[in-house]
C-alpha cells in the first residue's frame, strides 16, 4: 500500500515539473545568425595559349638576316607551360599555368630570343607582386651562376616595370635579360585581368661553347592587402 502511494507521488511530481518547464520555455526566446562564407581565391599564372616567341640574330629576324637568310635552323627555343590550375570562381573557368619551361638549344652569341605572355590574375582577390627569386647553375662546370641587376624601375610612359640585367658566371656574362611587365606601378594584378610580360634574351660573346646552363625565376604574389 505504501509503495503504491509512493509511485503516485512520484508520477505527480513529474507532471508538475513538465508543466513548469513549458511555462519557463514560454518566457525565453532565441535569435539565430547563420552565416555562409565563400572565400575568395588567389591564383596568378600564365594564361594558357598566350605564349608567343620569336628569334632574332643581332636584333634582325632570323629569316631576314643577310647573308644568308636561311639559317633559322641553327638554334631553337622551345617554350612549354605546365602545372595548370583552373580557377573555381572565375566565370567562365580560367586555366593558367604555374610554370613556364624554356629550352634553348644550340645557342650562340648574338642569338636573341623574345618571349611574350599574359600574366593573369585568375582568382577573385587582387594579387600584389612581392619579390622574385632568381637562381642559375652551370651544369657543365658544376657551379652556381649569379644574376646581375643593372636596372629596375617603373617606366611611366610605357606603364611598365622594367628589369635589366644579366646571367653571369665567373667567365663572363652568359646572356643579357630584359623583362618588361606591363603592370600597374603598385604591382597589383586585378582579378580577371591580364598583363603583358615581355622577356628579351640575348647571348653574349663570353657565353661558353658546349656548356649547359639552367636558370629559374620565381615570382611571388600575395593578396593585395597583405603586401
Amino acid at each position: 500500500m505504501k509503495s503504491k502511494s509512493l509511485i503516485g507521488t512520484f508520477g505527480l511530481l513529474i507532471v508538475i515539473l513538465s508543466l513548469l518547464g513549458v511555462v519557463y520555455a514560454h518566457w525565453s526566446d532565441v535569435v539565430t545568425i547563420e552565416g555562409t562564407v565563400h572565400m575568395g581565391e588567389l591564383i596568378v599564372g600564365i594564361l594558357n595559349n598566350s605564349v608567343t616567341h620569336y628569334e632574332t640574330i643581332n636584333g634582325v629576324p632570323e629569316a631576314e638576316f643577310l647573308p644568308p637568310a636561311n639559317k633559322t635552323w641553327v638554334a631553337n627555343a622551345t617554350i612549354t607551360l605546365s602545372d595548370f590550375e583552373t580557377s573555381v570562381h572565375h566565370d567562365p573557368p580560367e586555366t593558367v599555368a604555374k610554370k613556364m619551361t624554356i629550352l634553348m638549344a644550340n645557342a650562340y652569341p648574338q642569338w636573341d630570343v623574345h618571349i611574350e605572355f599574359m600574366l593573369k590574375n585568375a582568382g577573385t582577390i587582387p594579387a600584389t607582386y612581392t619579390k622574385a627569386n632568381l637562381t642559375g647553375y652551370d651544369v657543365t662546370d658544376g657551379e652556381n651562376l649569379t644574376w646581375r641587376q643593372d636596372l629596375w624601375y617603373y617606366n611611366t610612359t610605357l606603364k611598365a616595370w622594367i628589369w635589366e640585367g644579366a646571367l653571369v658566371d665567373p667567365a663572363g656574362d652568359i646572356m643579357n635579360v630584359r623583362v618588361v611587365a606591363y603592370v600597374p606601378e603598385d604591382g597589383q594584378l586585378e582579378p580577371c585581368n591580364c598583363y603583358l610580360v615581355c622577356i628579351d634574351v640575348d647571348f653574349k660573346q663570353t657565353a661558353e661553347e658546349c656548356h649547359t646552363y639552367t636558370f629559374s625565376v620565381t615570382f611571388e604574389f600575395v593578396q593585395w592587402n597583405k603586401a
Partner: protein, 230 residues
C-alpha cells in the same frame, strides 16, 4: 600525468601552427619560369679524312700560264704538307686538326707550289671565314732570326707578297725586300655550315730576291667566327 598534459599541449600547438601555415600559404601564389640553355660549339678544323696535298708548277716563258710540275720535268724542290694537333669537338665528337704544316725544301726562285687543304666545320654553329693572318720570319743557316716577314696586300684580296722587314719598322716600305708571292685562292668571307667542308688553296711563288740557304717560316692563321658576327 603532468608530462602527458604538456606533451598534448605541445602537439596541439604544432598542429595549430601547421594549419595556420597552410592557410597562409594558400593566400600567396607563385609563378615560375625555368630555363635550360644548351650552348652550341664553334670549331673550325682541317679535315680529318682528307690530308693536304702539294702541287708544283712552273710558268711558261712569257709568264702567262702555269703548267703542272717543275721546269723541264725535274724534281728539284720538294713540298710536304701534313696536319697536326688532333682535336675533337666535345659537342659533336667529330675529329679534325688545328694545324697544317708545310715544309718546302730546296726551294729556288720561280719555284711555284700550291697547297690544297680542306677546312671542316666540326661544331654546331655555322662559321664565317673572314680572313687570314699571315706572319713569319727569315732565319739564317744556323736558325737565327734575321728579319720578320710582313704580309703586303693593299687591296685585301689575299693576293699579295711576303716582304723581309729590313728596317724592322713593322710596315712594308721601300727598304723592304719582296721574297715570296702568296695567294689564297678563296675570296673571303665565306661560310661553312656545321658538318660541311670547304676546299681551299694557298699558292707560293719564290722570288729572285729570296736568299740561298735561308729558311722562311710562314704562319697563316685562318680566322673563323660565328656566322652572325660582324
Amino acid at each position: 600525468m603532468n608530462t602527458r598534459k604538456t606533451s598534448l599541449l605541445s602537439l596541439s600547438i604544432v598542429v595549430l601552427l601547421s594549419l595556420l601555415g597552410a592557410v597562409y600559404a594558400h593566400w600567396s601564389d607563385v609563378v615560375t619560369i625555368e630555363g635550360t640553355i644548351n650552348m652550341g660549339s664553334l670549331t673550325l678544323s682541317f679535315d680529318y679524312a682528307e690530308p693536304p696535298s702539294c702541287n708544283e708548277y712552273h710558268w711558261n716563258e712569257d709568264h702567262t700560264q702555269k703548267t703542272a710540275g717543275e721546269y723541264l720535268g725535274k724534281d728539284v724542290g720538294n713540298c710536304t704538307a701534313y696536319f697536326a694537333e688532333n682535336i675533337t669537338d666535345p659537342h659533336t665528337g667529330k675529329e679534325g686538326y688545328k694545324k697544317l704544316i708545310i715544309v718546302i725544301d730546296n726551294a729556288y726562285p720561280q719555284y711555284v707550289v700550291g697547297i690544297v687543304f680542306k677546312l671542316h666545320n666540326i661544331g654546331t654553329i655555322p662559321i664565317k671565314v673572314i680572313g687570314y693572318n699571315i706572319t713569319g720570319e727569315k732565319r739564317n743557316a744556323t736558325g737565327h732570326k734575321i728579319y720578320d716577314l710582313l704580309w703586303y696586300d693593299p687591296d685585301g684580296d689575299y693576293i699579295g707578297s711576303i716582304y723581309e722587314d729590313v728596317n724592322g719598322n713593322g710596315v712594308v716600305d721601300a727598304c723592304d725586300i719582296e721574297v715570296i708571292n702568296l695567294e689564297v685562292t678563296d675570296s673571303v668571307p665565306y661560310q661553312i655550315d656545321p658538318c660541311r667542308t670547304h676546299k681551299a688553296e694557298i699558292d707560293l711563288e719564290f722570288k729572285q730576291e729570296a736568299e740561298e740557304c735561308h729558311t722562311y717560316v710562314l704562319t697563316v692563321e685562318i680566322i673563323g667566327i660565328q656566322w652572325n658576327k660582324g
